[in-house]
């Protein structure tokens, strides 16, 4: 059980890294993009880059705001 937990933690750390919010925002951006394209018929190519920029800015703001 302990080994399994360590294995899971390793992969979480490997993929998600220091800030899970970055991963959450990217996944949410992809989901909304898919909905816009397939349901609303909008070619939302601009959405994911905006989500990536927002995720980076938000994560950096949080990391530095708590430290300084």
């Amino acid at each position: 059980m302990r080994t399994l937990k360590q294995f899971g933690l390793f992969w979480y750390d490997f993929v998600v890294g220091d800030d899970w919010r970055v991963a959450a925002l990217v996944v949410a951006g992809l989901a909304v993009t898919a909905v816009l394209v397939h349901v609303a018929g909008v070619n939302a190519w601009w959405l994911l880059p905006l989500c990536a920029f927002a995720a980076l800015g938000w994560s950096l703001h949080r990391a530095t705001a708590t430290k300084k």
């Binding site: 800030d19 992809l30 993009t33 898919a34 397939h38 190519w45 994911l48 990536a52 994560s59 300084k68």
Partner: protein
């Protein structure tokens, strides 16, 4: 698409990881014993080869849309984490990864550890140190080679970039016989972060059903845009840091290995 960006991205990413692995291997070999260190390295390389042989072909069986969606998401997340770390280090919020001090830390720990023979390995500490170092750094390389290679249908070009980086770093390590402290690791990580984020965003959006304006040519806008936003965030954090605490703006807050 031209294979050059693929080869260069994999080369730089792999070089960064190889430099870090070299530091650990050198610490194990110089302080403990080379034979057990090489055994640990060899075991890690075999494990990485198995992972590549199993995961690589398995991923290529996925439909292209699903592959781009999953791989794009992973690459974008991975790239943003690299960028985050590189920006925080460039602005002094985290200490720069220093190969010289990392080497000294590993050497000090290796000197204190007891020598124990296990499973045909004369120095188990040196074996596990080298094994873990090469495996952990190598996994990132394998991930990048497989995802970039499969998406571009050019695993060979990605592998060439990876092998070339390992050869260059190993030759440099043999020549210098010390950790490669002069390598601008943080800026290499920044560049790789930009490429991973850009390609991840591009492929992820394509997997979600988007048609990029200009198709592949959109990358010529996306890569500079990601680089620009990331560079701007460095200036933003530097100016904010200077405005808040001018006296100790450059003081590192946290050490990351």
């Amino acid at each position: 698409m031209n294979a050059l960006p693929l080869v260069l991205t994999v080369f730089v990413a792999c070089a960064v990881e190889a430099v870090e692995a070299l530091t650990i291997v050198l610490a194990a070999g110089v302080t403990r014993e080379w034979k057990s260190t090489f055994q640990g390295m060899a075991a890690a390389l075999v494990a990485l080869a198995v992972v590549t042989a199993v995961v690589g072909p398995a991923i290529s069986y996925l439909p292209l849309t699903a592959l781009r969606l999953a791989v794009g998401a992973l690459l974008a997340i991975f790239g943003l984490q690299w960028l985050r770390k590189a920006v925080l280090r460039a602005t002094g919020y985290k200490a720069l990864h220093d190969e010289a001090s990392a080497y000294l830390r590993e050497v000090a720990a290796a000197r204190e550890a007891a020598t124990e023979s296990r499973r045909g390995v004369s120095d188990w500490y040196a074996f596990t140190l080298a094994f873990k170092g090469v495996l952990l750094e190598g996994l990132e390389v394998v991930f990048i080679v497989i995802t970039f290679g499969d998406n571009q249908h050019d695993v060979l070009a990605a592998s060439v970039g990876a092998v070339a980086a390992i050869v260059v770093v190993v030759l440099a390590g043999v020549a210098v016989k010390a950790p490669l402290t002069k390598v601008p690791e943080n800026w290499m990580k920044f560049a790789v972060g930009v490429m991973l984020t850009s390609f991840g965003t591009f492929w992820g959006a394509e997997g979600a059903g988007v048609a990029w304006p200009g198709n592949d040519a959109a990358l010529l806008v996306l890569v500079p845009a990601v680089a620009l936003v990331s560079a701007a965030s460095i200036f933003w954090l530097r100016s904010r840091s200077a405005a808040r605490q001018p006296a100790d703006a450059a003081a590192p807050q946290e050490v990351i290995n």
